[in-house]
């Protein structure tokens, strides 16, 4: 097979529910695999926070540096050309025309890349420009994506699928439903993560759902319902010579009915016997051969728990979340191997890169088990239901490795880093059982709670269909809790507790003592964890693997401690506010530490990351980011120090405890990190520096809170003081809404105070990301938000270099920053957030760690902030002057939302963060960058009809010029009642439509349902406050019907202006290097 010279890889774009950081892993591995073969790589991916979009930093071209770890040159692992562009046909065609690649990889960027690839093939673009699809042929992809074809193809080899009928119209779907019978499963074709799918109980429900689904997908499948069957997955690899292996099988603890992305998943399967395991394995291989997959794919089964009957649910002919998990679970580098197979290699020709001795054509044998647990963030959304089902809502996941089920379960639940809700557990049995029967994100806690209250395993099984084997294991934990509470901590009991996964802190809580005391006692009793390797062959062959975990089911370590080591703490699970940006930062820190001659250690628990690839560090501990576990590793390895500032808030919170335990923390003194974290200390610090800040107070009773709010004047920002980083924040406009908030927070007391601060309206937000060494500033980048204060910085559209901020303001931002940096003696990365109004500049937050925007500012300015920060932390000085303000281009970062998945949530920005990812694009002008960036986040440019609904007089006035511009651009405006009257009165032609609640025609709702509208600008009347009004229904409908929506005035203004400027100019497909040249 002819090897291609230049290959285009399609990335997956911004992180969203159903498509997260796992595709940074798969894309990065593909790039590495291609570069090893001397193939040039072109990448399109607007996700600027990914590692796959890295190029060598600094002045271009820079001579490639030797990477300390394996001698490979740094540049050799990276793409040759990177395009930060929307993953749409329009841009992909431009890139193909320009780059003329002779090969394309579609399987490494999730459903986004696959869909784009199929579109490029269908339009004839690939053929026209001679681009060969590498790996799985397009025909095979279509067989797996088109449900009707899929079923037909599997029928050809007598493989069972659920009874099903494909339908493209509502009437056809209803007819099919009659044939199959209710309840049934409705699935949307061509959708990622099961979007729009669900159990349907009757015809009325079906017709309602169909209206929605047909907006975003041309076809649905009406299927036999297999709820309650076991859900089993296999990861299958096949090469062009027809060698075929299954790398891993996985069992969903939550049976069919719960999306695999919402399920607890264990690998390998635990309740399957040999006959079942190998029957399904055999079918997997038959199916994959029949379809002709070349590379990697995932196959999902429903397996009847009693009869052993099976159905094939689906095949994903691409790398997926499950394949990333399987890869981390087994140590088998699926994406890397898949890329090599796409180039024409066969499996026996490839080596097992873990053992380096044995072949890649084998099936890993595990001598441990892993458990994946989803991380949800539903509570961030008001109105959103916490019910889980056949659609994915989780935003991240963790993976625990151990040698007993109890051990991995308890480890995984801690890794989630979600504080246990004691009030939830105190609920009556009936309520818990309700959550078990109709599962919510709390189901696992409901099971624990019910077992503690004496509910039988049989009863829970009956309600949940979860296999008794798993429930018995949970019961073991509950029984041991009771034993621990009663019994003396003998060596045997201590060991049993640790083997069943109890942390020192858990034991301390049960024994009413503290964590440090339990740790000391445990060490005295000689109950210590063992470090074990993941070697893919269960110890059968010697392996030089550096992939490690800790267990209490061990008598000895597999390894000896290293020399001259430095630990980097990873980010833990992806969650809203903690995403792939921190994985990027951690990986950069590893790279620099490696270059500086350290043996690097990564500790992380998130399988959707690049940092947990075993060739990113010298040692990878796939472990908890807890004080206990980090200390276990530190005590064994005795490293020179630990980097806590590149992984976000989880490692940052460990800084002070680690220092107190005598561990050296690289960079800023943890006591100073704490001064920035502690609201009182930081406020005092600002006062001494004479830096302005919004007035605030910490209150321990509702009445005191109201008094404080009245003193500051409404609106005020209110939040619980113990939760960091914007969680559960709210804006109260008046006394009534403050009381409502306080009531919801339920518990305002000396133990749980609330913080009230003055909320400044119509203020601009400015951020500074920087690096300092011993209190002096080395490099900084100032970014401004498009949206005014009131939109969480993680949800804001961010511009670099700033376009509207006065030089005077910039100078003052710098001055204040320098003063803070000096006072906290910062060494390493930091971020300060400001609000500016009129001539007043106030500091609202300071994080003495890398912020979410570090990859953005690094890539836009061309200077790797983390590299500079890591060098600073190691004590290296720098004389270099960095230019970060005067750039010849503009970059805009846009939030990526996943509202489509969070049913019931109001899709508008609040002070709480709601976005799940971000994208960024460059442009020669602000307008160009903004449009591209919005397109990259899934926005579509309007063609003709725009619906506007502008709440509040101020919004109407300020947006009047923008409305006029839209009309000038020949858009037809539809406006709701008051907006229409206002526009008409001001000479802007528009058509008046009635609000949904009036029921009068022409009505907003019918207009939307007719599919007539291609953009909705809906600015809520009551800013910052949650509301349940007509506006909400319009916004929600827009999301559910996939109509582009803008809800922020500043963004609406900026968008319309940009559209006006750009009209006819076209949006250019320029690579990152071209902008920097």
């Amino acid at each position: 097979m002819r090897k291609p010279k230049k290959v285009l890889i399609l990335g997956s774009g911004g992180l969203k529910i159903g498509q997260a950081g796992e595709f940074d892993y798969s894309g990065s591995q593909a790039i590495k695999a291609l570069k090893e073969e001397g193939v040039k790589v072109v990448l399109i991916n607007p996700n600027i926070a990914t590692i796959q979009t890295d190029l060598p930093f600094g002045a271009l071209p820079r001579p490639p540096k030797l990477h300390a770890k394996d001698g490979a040159k740094e540049g050799e692992k990276l793409a040759d050309t990177v395009y930060f562009l929307p993953l749409t046909e329009q841009f992909a065609v431009q890139v193909i025309k320009k780059e003329r690649p002779d090969g394309i990889l579609l399987g490494f960027g999730g459903q986004t890349a696959l869909n784009l690839g199929l579109a490029l093939e269908k339009s004839g673009t690939l053929k026209k420009y001679g681009v060969r699809v590498l790996g799985t042929p397009v025909a095979a992809i279509r067989d797996t994506e088109d449900r009707d074809l899929f079923v037909r193809r599997l029928n050809e080899i007598n493989v069972s699928t659920p009874k099903s009928r494909a339908a493209s119209t509502i009437s056809a779907a209803l007819k099919a439903a009659e044939e199959i019978g209710y309840p049934l499963m409705m699935r949307a074709g061509f959708a990622l993560g099961g979007e729009g799918s669900g159990v349907v109980r009757d015809a009325k429900m079906l017709s309602e759902k169909l209206k929605e689904v047909f907006r975003s997908t041309p076809q649905v499948l009406i299927e036999e319902y297999v709820g309650g069957w076991k859900e089993i997955e296999y990861e299958v690899v096949r090469d062009r010579a027809d060698n075929c292996i299954t790398v891993c099988n996985m069992e969903n603890i939550d049976p069919m009915g719960i999306h695999t992305g919402e399920s607890f998943v264990v690998a390998p399967s635990q309740t399957l016997n040999n006959q079942e395991y190998h029957a399904l394995r055999g079918i997997a291989i038959r199916v994959i051969r029949h379809l002709g997959i070349v590379g990697e794919c995932n196959i999902q089964y429903a397996l009847h728990p009693k009869t052993g009957d099976y159905r094939v649910i689906e095949v994903n002919a691409r790398l997926s979340r499950s394949s990333a998990l399987a890869s981390k679970a087994t140590g088998y580098p699926l994406a890397h191997v898949a890329a090599k197979l796409a180039l024409g290699y066969t499996l026996p020709e490839l080596k097992n890169s873990v053992t380096k001795q044995t072949t890649a054509c084998f099936e890993p044998a595990l001598d441990y088990l892993v458990l994946k647990v989803p991380r949800w963030d539903i509570t961030k959304f008001d109105n959103a239901t916490s019910k889980i089902g056949s659609e994915m809502k989780s935003v991240g996941e963790v993976m625990a490795i151990g040698r007993s089920f109890e051990e991995v379960l308890q480890k995984a639940l801690r890794m989630l880093n979600v504080p246990l809700d004691k009030a939830y557990l105190a609920r009556p049995v009936g309520a818990l059982l309700e959550d078990i029967r109709h599962p919510t994100t709390n189901r696992i806690h409901a099971i624990f709670g019910a077992l503690r209250k004496g509910v039988s395993v049989g009863k829970i099984h009956q309600l949940s269909h979860i296999d008794v084997w798993f429930l018995e294991k949970i019961k073991n934990i509950v029984e041991l809790e009771a034993k621990l509470r009663r019994g003396k901590l003998t060596p045997a009991l201590m060991r049993e507790a640790k083997q069943k996964g109890f942390s020192d802190r858990d034991i301390a809580a049960l024994k009413k003592t503290n964590e440090a005391k339990v740790r000391a006692l445990r060490k005295k009793l000689g109950v210590l964890p063992s470090i074990k390797q993941i070697d893919t062959l269960a110890g059968e062959f010697p392996a030089k693997t550096n992939y490690l975990y800790l267990t209490y089911h061990g008598a000895e370590h597999d390894i000896e401690h290293g020399k001259n080591q430095a630990i980097v703490l990873g980010s833990g699970p992806y969650a809203i506010g903690s995403s792939v940006e921190f994985d990027w930062s951690g990986v950069q820190a590893l790279r620099t530490l490696g270059e500086k001659g350290y043996e690097t250690i990564m500790i992380n628990s998130n399988p959707e990351t690049v940092s947990t690839d075993y060739d990113m560090s010298d040692r990878l501990y796939f472990e908890e980011l807890s004080l206990e576990r980090v200390l276990d590793i530190v005590e064994f390895e005795k490293p020179k120090g630990v980097v806590v500032s590149t992984g976000g808030q989880i490692p940052n919170n460990l800084a002070l405890p680690l220092q107190k335990a005598g561990v050296h923390v690289f960079g800023t003194d943890p006591r100073n990190i704490d001064r920035a974290e502690n609201r009182h200390a930081f406020s005092k610090l600002l006062d001494t520096l004479d830096v302005d800040q919004p007035a605030w107070a910490e209150l321990t009773s509702p009445s005191a809170a109201v008094k404080a709010a009245e003193k500051f004047g409404y609106p005020v920002l209110v939040r619980p003081s113990y939760v960091l980083s914007g969680a559960a924040m709210s804006v109260a406009l008046n006394r009534e809404s403050l009381l409502k908030y306080l009531k919801r927070a339920a518990d305002v007391s000396p133990d749980h105070p609330v913080v009230i601060s003055k909320f400044i309206e119509n203020a601009r937000e400015i951020e500074i990301d920087g690096v300092a060494a011993r209190g002096s500033l080395l490099i900084y980048a100032i970014t401004e938000h498009v949206e005014n204060a009131g939109t969480h910085s993680g949800d804001a559209t961010v511009v670099l270099p700033p376009q509207r901020t006065y030089l005077e303001t910039i100078r003052r931002v710098k001055d204040v920053t320098k003063a803070i940096v000096r006072e906290l003696k910062i060494t390493g990365p930091f971020n300060v957030q400001f609000i500016a109004k009129d001539n007043r500049l106030q500091v609202i937050e300071c994080n003495v760690r890398a912020s979410r925007s570090f990859p953005f500012v690094s890539k836009v300015t061309g200077h790797n902030f983390i590299d500079i920060a890591t060098r600073a932390m190691l004590g290296e000085g720098t004389k270099e002057r960095y230019r970060t303000l005067e750039l010849d281009y503009v970059a805009v970062k846009s939030p990526q939302f996943s509202y489509g998945r969070i049913k019931g949530a109001d899709p508008r920005s609040f002070v709480e963060m709601a976005s799940t990812g971000e994208v960024a694009c460059f442009g020669d002008s602000y307008g160009e960058a903004l449009l591209k960036s919005m397109l990259a986040a899934g926005f579509r440019l309007p063609k003709r009809n725009v619906l506007v609904s502008l709440g509040k007089e101020e919004n109407k006035l300020k947006l009047l010029p923008a409305m006029q511009m839209l009309v000038n651009m020949k858009f037809k405006l539809f406006a709701t009642e008051h907006t229409a009257d206002f526009l008409a009165a001001n000479g802007v032609p528009c058509e008046k439509v009635f609000k949904i609640s009036t029921g009068q025609e022409p009505n907003v709702l019918s207009l939307m349902e007719q599919g007539a509208i291609d953009l909705i600008i809906n600015i809520p009347t009551r800013a910052y406050e949650r509301e349940n009004t007509d506006g909400f229904i319009i916004r929600r409908k827009a999301i559910d019907m996939n109509i582009p929506l803008i809800t922020n005035r500043q963004l609406a203004e900026a968008f319309v202006t940009a559209l006006h400027e750009q009209k006819g100019n076209g949006l250019k497909a320029k690579s990152w290097s071209e902008y920097r040249a």
Binding site: S269, Q357, A538, D558
Partner: protein, 377 residues
């Protein structure tokens, strides 16, 4: 309970099987599923088995229904009893769950008189076995420690004679008659031949089948050192003189090699797993359309194909010692050891792995298809 190793090590654990002591050769197996199949595989006779997968017993054990006359025993049992001498695991799953389960693994072990121990760092033990090679061991239910005479090398004994059937048995009524020499044959070999329509004449390891009327000869798997089965080797030689088609499986591969004049040797720690990659050096002697067949009658398409196989053997054929006329059919992709051989002109072939699987992957079941098909010609 303790496991005493001949190198002086003592490993403590918790008993969950029969309360008795037993000597044996300590070996490890890396399969993640299929303990009823594995434990009843006669090839494990005399061995104390260490499971590297840490959770054993999860899905219990089905009831053993004694087969009716003329039928092999039902899956998942590979013989009528537990064949392993003893069992060592990390964690025994006391609560089991499966629709087919009738009793717990512990109950079965106890009733079968097989001692078992949990709570062991089986990875550490496996690494020791890997580095040292298999070690003799003693699973002790008493408080006594190491003694000189407690260890016993099962390979000194004729294990084949111990596990083979005592009397000829006939299964099925197919036109094709196969003599299956039971050296410790797994039931699934019988089942595999029967489902393909053959009559299976199962004979003891030392049975002189020269007077029988048959189309093909199958030499089964079995325990221990192949050189102990001298009589079987003699009978194979006699069959070769008559040009009888032969298929060897596992021990059968070694016995056929010895009969042909090749050598066998003991592997340091054997292959006991379900993930052994074996490369087909010849190509499947296939029924593929003529266009895909090479001139020698083998399929080009499958030459170089790598199969994932199930294995359980401590001895192997020395591929370099194959006499003239023979060639290696399969080799292990990990360590290049011999995994099968065939004669260039005569109808003789054998594989070191288990095409009947059980436990393990079923990817090489086609070996039986082709054996039967070749007999029909």
């Amino acid at each position: 309970m303790k496991l005493l190793l001949k190198d002086g090590t003592t490993i403590e654990g918790k008993s969950f099987g029969a309360n008795r002591s037993v000597a044996g050769e300590v070996v490890f197996a890396t399969g993640m599923v299929g303990y009823p199949e594995a434990f009843t595989d006669p090839s494990y006779a005399g061995q104390i088995l260490v499971c590297t997968y840490p959770l054993i017993g999860n899905y219990g054990v089905p009831s053993f229904a004694k087969a009716s006359e003329g039928k092999p025993d039902a899956s998942p049992f590979e013989s009528r009893k537990i064949q392993i001498a003893g069992l060592v695991v990390s964690e025994y799953s006391e609560k089991y769950s499966h629709a087919t389960a009738k009793r717990s693994l512990a109950d079965w072990l106890k009733k079968s008189g097989v001692p078992a121990m949990s709570g062991v760092d089986t990875r550490a033990l496996t690494k020791r076995l890997r580095e040292h090679g298999v070690i003799l061991g003693y699973l002790s239910s008493t408080k006594y420690g190491h003694g000189v005479s407690i260890f016993k090398d099962p390979n000194q004994e004729n294990l084949v004679a111990r596990v083979s059937i005592k009397k000829k048995k006939i299964y099925g009524k197919g036109r094709i008659k196969i003599i299956a020499v039971d050296c410790g044959m797994k039931e699934n070999i019988v089942r595999s031949l029967l489902t393909r329509g053959a009559t299976v004449i199962r004979v003891p390891w030392d049975y002189d089948f020269s007077k029988e009327r048959y189309h093909g000869l199958l030499i089964s798997n079995g325990p221990g050192d192949p050189i102990m089965a001298e009589k079987t080797i003699e009978h194979i030689r006699a069959a070769m003189k008559e040009n009888k088609p032969i298929l060897g499986v596992c021990l059968g591969n070694q016995l056929l090699a010895l009969a042909a004049g090749a050598k066998t040797y003991k592997l340091k720690y054997g292959h006991r797993s379900q993930n052994q990659p074996c490369i087909d050096l010849i190509g499947r002697p296939s029924f593929a359309p003529p266009s895909r067949k090479a001139s020698d009658g083998h399929s080009k398409a499958t030459k170089g194909r790598c199969y994932i196989t199930s294995q359980n053997h401590g001895y192997a054929v020395d591929g370099k010692s194959l006499p003239a006329g023979w060639e290696e059919w399969f080799v292990n992709a990990n360590d290049d050891s011999n995994e099968g051989m065939l004669h260039k002109t005569k109808p003789w072939r054998s594989v070191q792995f288990h095409p009947e699987a059980s436990p393990g992957p079923t990817d090489t079941a086609w070996i039986f298809d082709e054996f039967i098909a070749s007999l029909k010609k």
